[in-house]
């Protein structure tokens, strides 16, 4: 039901989130529910003639470095998710997530006071690697203390990263908690972004995150060809070598 609201409001791609909390032992990553099972037919986006894309997304709440091992493991199920996000709870984990972990999004906590301050080096490295920082806006709708935390955390993030690589998303559980894309871009203005950055936080940055997820899923290695000089001579010399090998 809430997805139909999204469609009517003007979103072109939606990601269904699945949250894994690592405090409990023996959490297994289950296969994501395929979107085609949930919706037999997806309505068309307002304004274009394409259908809405529904992606699957996994959020890992990490409070311990050993939880990150799961990302490096070869569990097949983790590869099935389109977007992977990590939610670090300590400064060290934030640093690890920005620099070495293979994720698409780093979630920034908005529901309580951040236990650590952002520092410039890991944030700049994350921007170079193409990792985006995510802010949620649904707690701001529910509760006024969370509103204050959301705004204060968002402003401190803006001061460090200068408004680049930000994605604003909703953790909506009901259709009434969803807001239109322009409304969300306006919220970006409240957080201290400039107008173009705010609009990008809803549109281009999200699309870049989707593409980042796709490249993460598909890229296993890079092959590049280098033009070698004296190519003709080399070919001639290799042919007799092959003939020699056969006779031996």
């Amino acid at each position: 039901n809430s997805l139909f609201v999204c469609f009517s409001v003007g979103y072109s791609a939606v990601a269904l989130n699945h949250v894994i909390d690592f405090k409990e032992k023996k959490q297994e990553i289950i296969k994501p529910v395929s979107p085609s099972e949930l919706f037999p037919s997806l309505p068309i986006v307002q304004g274009t003639s394409k259908r809405i894309k529904v992606l699957t997304r996994l959020t890992l709440i990490v409070s311990d470095p050993s939880h990150c091992n799961l990302l490096r493991s070869t569990s097949a199920n983790i590869r099935l998710y389109d977007i992977i996000a990590v939610f670090p709870k300590t400064e060290k984990l934030f640093h690890i997530a920005c620099t070495t972990l293979d994720v698409d999004l780093v979630c920034i906590n908005v529901t309580e006071k951040l236990p650590f301050y952002f520092r410039r080096p890991p944030v700049n490295m994350a921007i170079d690697r193409g990792i985006y920082f995510e802010l949620l806006y649904t707690p701001a709708i529910k509760d006024s203390t969370m509103r204050r935390y959301t705004i204060s955390n968002a402003i401190s993030l803006m001061q460090i990263c200068k408004g680049k690589n930000i994605v604003i998303s909703s953790a909506a559980e009901r259709s009434l908690e969803l807001r239109g894309p322009y409304d969300v871009a306006n919220l970006g203005l409240l957080f201290g972004l400039s107008e173009s950055e705010a609009k990008a936080a809803v549109s281009t940055n999200c699309r870049a995150t989707m593409l980042h997820g796709e490249t993460r899923k598909t890229a296993c290695g890079v092959v590049y060809t280098v033009k070698k000089p004296r190519k003709v001579e080399e070919e001639e010399t290799t042919v007799p070598a092959c003939k020699k090998a056969k006779t031996q």
């Binding site: 409001v9 003007g10 307002q46 304004g47 806006y137 701001a140 709708i141 529910k142 509760d143 006024s144 509103r147 009901r174 009434l176 908690e177 969803l178 807001r179 239109g180 322009y182 409304d183 969300v184 306006n186 919220l187 203005l189 409240l190």
Partner: protein
């Protein structure tokens, strides 16, 4: 133009204005509540309204309406359909043009 999808309560025009002002007060305080906002039209059937505000106050008003969560202890949502400096532009939605 704003649409207010609700759980079941239907505010009348005065209550709607009160709701808007209280939303501004919650987010931006007394200074926000003092922002002059006019309700130009209000349809109770569809819960749609046209509001007018000074252009420097647009960001405050819009963000206050977006973050409003509750009306009379029920969940509600403001959905902004269109914003424009001209009233005539509000009569059509340019995205739904069929060429």
């Amino acid at each position: 133009r704003r649409e207010l999808p609700d759980g079941g309560a239907r505010p009348n025009a005065a209550q709607f204005k009160q709701l808007v002002v209280s939303a501004l007060r919650e987010l931006h305080g007394e200074v926000g509540a003092a922002l002059p906002v006019d309700v130009l039209t209000y349809e109770e059937k569809t819960l749609t309204a046209i509001l007018r505000v000074i252009s420097s106050g647009l960001v405050k008003l819009w963000s206050a309406l977006t973050l409003l969560g509750f009306y009379q202890n029920r969940r509600c949502a403001f959905r902004v359909l269109q914003t424009s400096p001209f009233l005539l532009a509000l009569s059509g939605n340019s995205r739904e043009l069929v060429l």
